[in-house]
Every structure is written in C-alpha cells, then in structure tokens.
Amino acid sequence: MLSSLHKQLLNDFQQDLPLSATPYLDIANSLGVTENEVLAAFKELQDQQFIARIGSVIAPNLIGVSSLIAMSVPENKLQKTADIINQYPEVNHNYERDNRFNLWFVLIAKDSESLQEVMTDMELQTGYKMLYLPLLADYFINLGFELDFND
C-alpha cells in the first residue's frame, strides 16, 4: 500500500531532485519529514519496483548514436528472433507491438559505423529486413508524468 509520502515522492520528483550535496535531506525538509523517512520510503519504492531508479535521463545522440528499429517477423518466429536480437548488448527496450511491424527496439552504438555494422549483422542473423527510424527531432517537453492513484 502506498503512503502519502510514497505518492509525493513518486509524483513530485520525476523532473528533478534538488541538485545539492544532500538531495534527500532537502526533499525531507520540503515535505516536513526526516531524511531517514525519505530514504526508507525510496528504498521501499525501489524494492517493490514502483520506481526503476533515481537517475538521469540523457539527451539522445549526444553520447553514442541510437536509432529505433522495427522488424516484421512471422508470429511463430517472433520469440526466436527476439532472442537473437537480445543477445546484442546494443539493444534496449525490445517490445512486441500489435502491428505488421511487430518487433520494436532501440539500438545504441558508439558511432554510426558501429550502428550500421550491428544492423547489417542482425539482418544476416535473423533473415529479416529492418526499418531504420533514427530520431530527427524531439518535441517533448518533459513536465513529469502525473500519476493517478485512484482505483
């Protein structure tokens, strides 16, 4: 069961933690609780996997090169193909989606040559062509995701 402290920590600090030497103490002070309570609550949220981590989100393509990739794979070959794809350390966020292009993942490599090499190798290993869908523009203004705790 999420306490009101849990909910505040989940909703109010997605965008930025206080950028000081003692961020958890600053949060505690702003909420009128102790630092230990904040640390304990974050630990509970993490242990129960309500939060993936407290960490950074990096602007795309500033470190390394990435692209979204889509593949169209017959249903009965999907798991096998996903297994092949997942063996590459360059793969993140590999999802099945309900479309004729049913396998979607993100590739991250150190530069475009490496990215190209990985893609060529993947097409060879899986036998399926890929859609190369690199980011051209990012319109997203991150205001945090407002969680609805009702129901």
């Binding site: 000081s20 950074s56 470190i63 794809i85 966020h93 999802y95 150190k110 995701f145």
Partner: protein
C-alpha cells in the same frame, strides 16, 4: 565535448543515484573525485542539456499503467514541428518525436507515446489529442505494446569497451 570522466559519471547516474545521505560523495569515490567536483560536473551537464533530467524514474507498468500505445502519424514535413509542439503539451503524452518516413511501407514521421491504465483510457486520450490538435486528416496507426522482450541493456557498454581499448593503449 564529453570527456571520459563525464561519460563515467553519466554511466553511474544512469545506474541510479545511491540512496544515502551524501550520494555524490559516493559517486565521487568511484571516480576519484571529491563531492564538490561531482556536483559541479552534474550541474554543467544539466546546464548543457546533456542530462535532460535527474529524478525519479517511475515504473509505469508496476503503477498500474499497463497500456502503452505508440501512435504514428503521416503529417506534412512543413507542419511537423508545429504539430509536434502542440502534441507534446498533453501530460499523457510521454514522448513525441520526428522520425524519417520509410516509403509506402511505413509513411509515418510523427511518433508519440501514450501511457494509460488500460486501452480504453489510452484511446480516449488519443481521441482528445486528435480533436484538440486537428489530427483527423492525417493517416495514422496505433501500436499497443504486447510483451516486453528486453527492458534495458548495457546502455553504454559499446562506448566503454572503446574507451578501455583507448586507455589500455
């Protein structure tokens, strides 16, 4: 532009800020930097826009947001930045990107991600978005996620390996 120490710092921040009273001191120990130096570097990385945010990364699925739709539209290139700017203002839109059209097999250039507690909610939000941004006229597809094969890989392993080669001469 991004030196090796900053890359290592980013890699540690990606893994997560330690849940201790002085998290930057702990990160500093791993990098051989003092706490102040870590904070200065983090502030600079934020100022430069390399770190977009440093905060709580929530697990939407675990919090009951089980439906996730990637919606793709075919909009004219001349209108895309205006439409993208409009679409990204809705708080249920999690990401909003332009990507290249790939001919007739995939003629879409605007991508947005909508998280919701179920498909019905997501589709309602999409209706609202379509209405508000005048998106009816554009061809679109809605792709709900089904199974997740892999969430997060070794994000910068490729880069780290490269650096090890450089560092080892």
């Amino acid at each position: 532009m991004i030196d090796v120490v900053n890359r290592q710092l980013i890699e540690l921040l990606q893994q997560g800020l330690p849940l201790v009273s002085r998290p930057y001191a702990v990160i500093g120990e791993k990098l051989g930097l003092c706490e102040d130096e870590v904070l200065v570097r983090v502030r600079n990385l934020k100022q430069q826009g390399i770190i977009k945010r440093l905060g709580v990364v929530v697990n939407h699925r675990r919090l009951g947001y089980k439906a996730n739709a990637m919606v793709v539209f075919d909009v004219p290139d001349s209108l895309i930045s205006q439409i993208g700017g409009h679409v990204s203002r809705f708080n249920f839109v999690n990401l909003c990107y332009q990507r290249p059209k790939q001919g007739s097999q995939w003629p879409y250039n605007l991508y947005c991600m909508i998280h919701g507690k179920n498909k019905v909610t997501v589709l309602k939000q999409l209706d609202h978005l379509t209405e508000s941004c005048g998106l009816h006229q554009f061809k679109r597809e809605i792709l709900f996620s089904k199974q997740c094969f892999k969430q997060r890989g070794a994000l910068y392993q490729a880069i780290e390996n490269q650096e090890k080669v450089i560092n080892n001469g």
